[in-house]
Each structure stands twice: as structure tokens, then as C-alpha cells.
Amino acid sequence: MTRLTYQQALVAAIRGEMARDPRVFHMGQDVGATSDGVMNSCKGLAAEFGAGRVIDLPISEAGTVAAGIGAAVAGMRPIVQIMFGEFLSLVMAPLACDAGTIWYRSGGKRSVPMVVRTLFGTGPHRGHPEDFHGWLCSVPGLKVAMPATPRDAKGLMAAAIRDENPVVFFEHMGLYHSVREEVPEEELITPFGVADVKRAGKDITLVAVGLMVQVALRAAAALAKEGIDVEVLDMRTPVPLDKAALVGSVSKTGRLLTLSETWRIGDSMAEAVAVVAEELGGARKIPISRVACAHVPRPFAHNLDKLALPNEAKVIAAAKALLSR
């Protein structure tokens, strides 16, 4: 075990997989030796594996994703970096309409073992916080990961690279260099589709991914002091979504609070609400509430940004409101 940051854990997973499998390579803008990736997202990879396997590319997001798909179909296992999640808006055609369909539409003849990794969330540089992850969740054929901790960053990244299917991997800029955790040095594979109960509780199920898991945990700790026992669930991979864990938890607590860093409509938390409503809404009363980013284009001024984003206080207020319903 060593204490690693989220960024170090991600790079460790990529290093491990590149060393293990010569078909794995990495491409994107500014990923090579001169820069080592935005926010050190590719630290040391080019030095270790050379420019042949860590490839700097021109600014051509859609072409890059299409090239990743083509390389995957032809026997490679590309890791494609799309610098920021906001730029996923440029690659939806190849991602949703090609990567997501090739296994199915080729009749199971070729798959697309590709990881698209991308930075998102409010981070030290500000700018580019959007993720649009709900778009990816909505179409069949893409897997989506949003780790909340260094340990999961490593384990999910390794699992993503070994997956035979396209995975969009979201790396939170606000977590990148801020948290440290014990992470095993040896191989670590965290299976997709398994939620992590971060805190057991009996009064409310509080669901989140990414940085919001930390907000959830802080809010839960504060609520505990007031005698409110919150169960915090980190979904880890919005696709596949661990419906069993979700429904199981809400069956127990009877209340659902979801926490989104992005807008409330059409994101993975909206789907969590819909799943719970479908599965449990007929059997009992279920107070449900969503805390999410204000429904405005992400604002810039520091104070507006803070106003727009969910925080501990908003979660605490929403939890109390749920209980008083």
C-alpha cells in the first residue's frame, strides 16, 4: 500500500495496463512527454512507453474518437483522452452512434475496447466543469465510470481498460490532487456495476458519484450529530447502474435523496430516481428529492459558481425537508 492521490492512482492503473498488454496505447492532446497531460493526467507515461504508445494529437476531438474506434476494431486497445468533459459535445456522433453500436450491429463480430478518459468538475483552474454524462447513459452500448476516490480511480480504470466495450471515464478535477488514500501497489480491478455503501444508515438513502460523494459524506456526518442516520451510496459506475443496491437501500430507508454536480434533468441521478419510483413507488410512500446544480449554464464568478453548486448545507436542508414530509 502507498498513499496516492486520485491522479497518481489513475496513472498507476494506466501504467500497469500498458505494461501488461502491448495493445494498450494512449492518445490525446498534450499527453506526450512535453506536457505529461493536463493536470499531470499522463505523468511519466511517455517517458516510460515512448512517443509510439503515448501519442500527441492535433485538436480534433471527433476525429480522435473515431480513430480510437477504428484502432479498437482493428485489434488495439486505445485510451483516448478528451481533455475536458465539455468537449464530449463534439464527439457524440462517433461515441454514441459508432462506439456504442458496433458490437451489436456487427452481430457480435468485433467489439470496441476503448476508454475515453476526460477531466471534469470544478477544479483548481476553473473552466470546463460540464460533464454531460447523462447523454452517455441514455444510449445503449456505452459504459460510464465516475470514481470518487483514489482507490476506485485505480481499480475502475484498470477494469475499464480490460473491458471489451467502450467506457467513458470521468476524472474529477476537484479530486485530482486533493485527496490521498491507501491504494494497493499490486493489480487492483474494481468491477463495474457495483455500488459502494460509503456509510450505512437507516433514515435516508443519499446517492451520488464523484466529488459529490464527499459532499454527501460530510452532510451525513453533520446530520448524524442531529440523530439523522443517512446511508451514503456511491454508484461508482452510472452504467451499469447497480439497481439492486439502490433499490435495496431505499427499501430499507424508505427515503431517497440524490445529489448531482450537474443539472438535474437526464443525469444518472434522475435515472436513479426513476428506477426507485418504478420499483418501489407502488408499494409504499417514498419521499424523494434531488439536489443538483442550479439549472443555468455553469456560471463563472466565484460566488455565482458556489451558489449554483450543491453543497453540504443544501444537502442537509433537503434531508431534513424529506424527513418532515
Binding site: A62, A66, A67, G70, A93, G108, R110
Partner: protein, 314 residues
């Protein structure tokens, strides 16, 4: 090559009667010239118009291809997606996996990157329409191919129309090959109705790509003798222009040249034609009789590939 060209013609003609097909009648020389003479490990990414002939040329089974157009269970993809545009990837033929033009050019460049990374002696040959050339994806892909010196040959099958839009309106350059300059790669114009010329130009580019010389952009100028879709009236094409191009029919041109050089005669042509027609009609008949896909082909549990699946490239 003559047999392939004839097959392409008869194939496209016969499908021209099919609802919603996009026939390539008159453009067969580009298809055959582009994809003839590649090695087994090479990939192709044909333009949707003419893709069936391209896949056939690369060894696909005619009946299964045609079954794909009808959406039958014997199709390469079991009827899961449009067989007129989606080709058997297991034969290294990259078709369309959605209705979106341009993606296949991007995939072709990616396959070329795989060839380079794997140190394989292979190349990728891709064709696309002149209308498609105006998509951002084609620009990005050309530039990526150029900047990474990838073994790929990119060929614009310029049939001078994109649906009802004349290339005169959509393209103000003299030739799509003029765009090569902007990527620092060779740009070549070739007469698209001369199968020998197309083939020679492509093979020169293939040789360059195979030896590490990077991509080439070729424009093969031809003409959309068919409607955009089967049966479409092409009132928007100038009749004189149309007549001129019909006179430059690529099949007749090859046949005349073969006859002139004594390699073939009328009887020989007729014999090949008969053989081709009977192969084709047998395949069509079988495909028509093939069953529709079983309900399980819907594949609710087959959206994701399982671990260690069989589709892995050797």
C-alpha cells in the same frame, strides 16, 4: 477485374429496384479500382454507395450481403442493421454502424493507426462521397492521418451530386484533391470511369502507404447515373451533362479496351455476363427466401461484448 466490374453493375442495377437503396450505377469503376488487388490483412472502408460490391470484392458472400439489405437472419449481422450500408467487419470491411456519413473515414484512419502500431505491413483504403468530404470528420481524419503519417489511402468518389445538391454549389475548389495541399500530402486526380486508371493511382498510393510514406488523397471523378435513391427522378441533373457521362460508361469503356487489345470479345463478355447474372440471381433468390431473424436476435442481453469474446482480432 472485368468480372468484378460486371458484377458490380448487375448488383447495383438489380438493387436499383429495391425500395430505399442507393445504387452506384455508373460509379463501379471507382469501387472496383479502389479495392482491387489488396492483401488479406488490409482493411477497406468503402463509401456507402457501392459498398456491397466492395465487400463482395473482398470476399464476402453475395447471398449474405443481399440478405443484409433485406434484413434477413442470414445477413452478416443477422439483420440487426441496414445491410445496404453496414458491412462485414470480420472481413476487415468497415461500413457504417449508424446513418451518419463521415464516421467510416475516421474509423479507417484509426484502423491505419492500428496497422502502424502493430507494425503490420497493411494499409487501409477508404472511399467517401464529395458531399461527405465537407464534413468536419473528414477534415480531422485527413489531418490526423497526415500528422501521424498513417498507411491509409483516402479516395473521394466524386459523383458530382449529394442528394439534389450539385458539387458545383457545395465545392468551390476545382477538385477535392486540391485539399491535399492543406494537409501536406499528395493529392491526385484520376478519371473515375476508367477502372484501370483508378486502380493504378490507388495502387501507387497503396505502395507509398505500405512503405511508410503516409496517406494520399485521391479524387476519382465520376457521375451519379442512378437517382440518389432507387427510382428517384433526377430532374435536377442537366440532361446534356447526364448524356455525356452516360456515354463515358465505365463498364463499356473497359470492355471496349479489352476487346481492342484482343483480350476479350463479344462472346467472352456475354459469357461472363451470363455467369455473373446467374450467380447474382441465385444469391438474390436464396436471400429472399431466407428467414427473418429470430426474436432472440433482438439481443437485449447482447448490447455489451462479454469477456474473452470471439470477435477479438488475432
Amino acid at each position: 477485374m472485368h468480372r468484378l466490374l460486371l458484377m458490380a453493375r448487375r448488383l447495383e442495377e438489380s438493387f436499383a429496384t429495391l425500395h430505399s437503396y442507393h445504387p452506384a450505377v455508373g460509379e463501379e469503376a471507382v469501387v472496383v479500382g479502389a479495392f482491387f488487388g489488396l492483401t488479406a490483412g488490409d482493411y477497406i472502408a468503402p463509401h456507402y454507395r457501392g459498398a456491397l460490391a466492395a465487400a463482395y470484392l473482398r470476399g464476402a458472400d453475395l447471398r449474405r450481403l443481399i440478405a443484409g439489405v433485406y434484413g434477413k437472419s442470414t445477413a452478416y449481422n443477422q439483420g440487426r442493421f441496414r445491410g445496404d450500408i453496414c458491412m462485414p467487419i470480420e472481413l476487415n470491411v468497415i461500413g457504417l454502424f449508424s446513418g451518419i456519413l463521415g464516421s467510416s473515414v475516421g474509423l479507417a484512419v484509426g484502423a491505419a493507426l492500428a496497422m502502424k502500431l502493430r507494425g503490420a505491413p497493411n494499409v487501409v483504403v477508404s472511399t467517401f462521397g464529395e458531399g461527405t468530404s465537407n464534413l468536419g470528420m473528414v477534415h480531422e481524419s485527413l489531418n490526423l492521418a497526415a500528422s501521424l503519417t498513417l498507411p491509409v489511402v483516402l479516395i473521394c468518389q466524386n459523383n458530382q451530386y449529394a442528394m439534389s445538391m450539385s458539387a458545383k454549389a457545395s465545392l468551390k475548389c476545382a477538385s477535392v484533391a486540391d485539399r491535399a495541399l492543406g494537409y501536406g500530402i499528395p493529392g491526385v486526380r484520376v478519371e473515375g470511369n476508367d477502372v484501370i486508371a483508378v486502380h493504378a493511382a490507388v495502387q501507387e498510393a497503396v505502395a507509398r502507404a505500405r512503405s511508410g510514406g503516409g496517406p494520399t488523397l485521391i479524387e476519382a471523378l465520376t457521375y451519379r447515373v442512378s437517382g440518389h435513391r432507387s427510382g428517384e427522378q433526377v430532374a435536377y441533373q442537366d440532361p446534356a451533362e447526364r448524356r455525356d457521362w452516360q456515354a463515358k460508361d465505365p463498364l463499356r469503356r473497359l470492355q471496349e479496351s479489352l476487346c481492342a487489345s484482343g483480350l476479350l470479345d463479344g462472346a467472352g463478355i456475354a459469357a461472363v455476363d451470363t455467369a455473373v447474372r446467374s450467380e447474382l440471381s441465385a444469391a438474390v433468390q436464396l436471400a429472399q427466401q431466407d428467414p427473418e431473424p429470430a426474436p432472440e436476435v433482438l439481443g437485449l442481453d447482447d448490447v455489451f461484448a462479454p469477456e474473452n469474446h470471439q470477435g477479438v482480432v488475432p
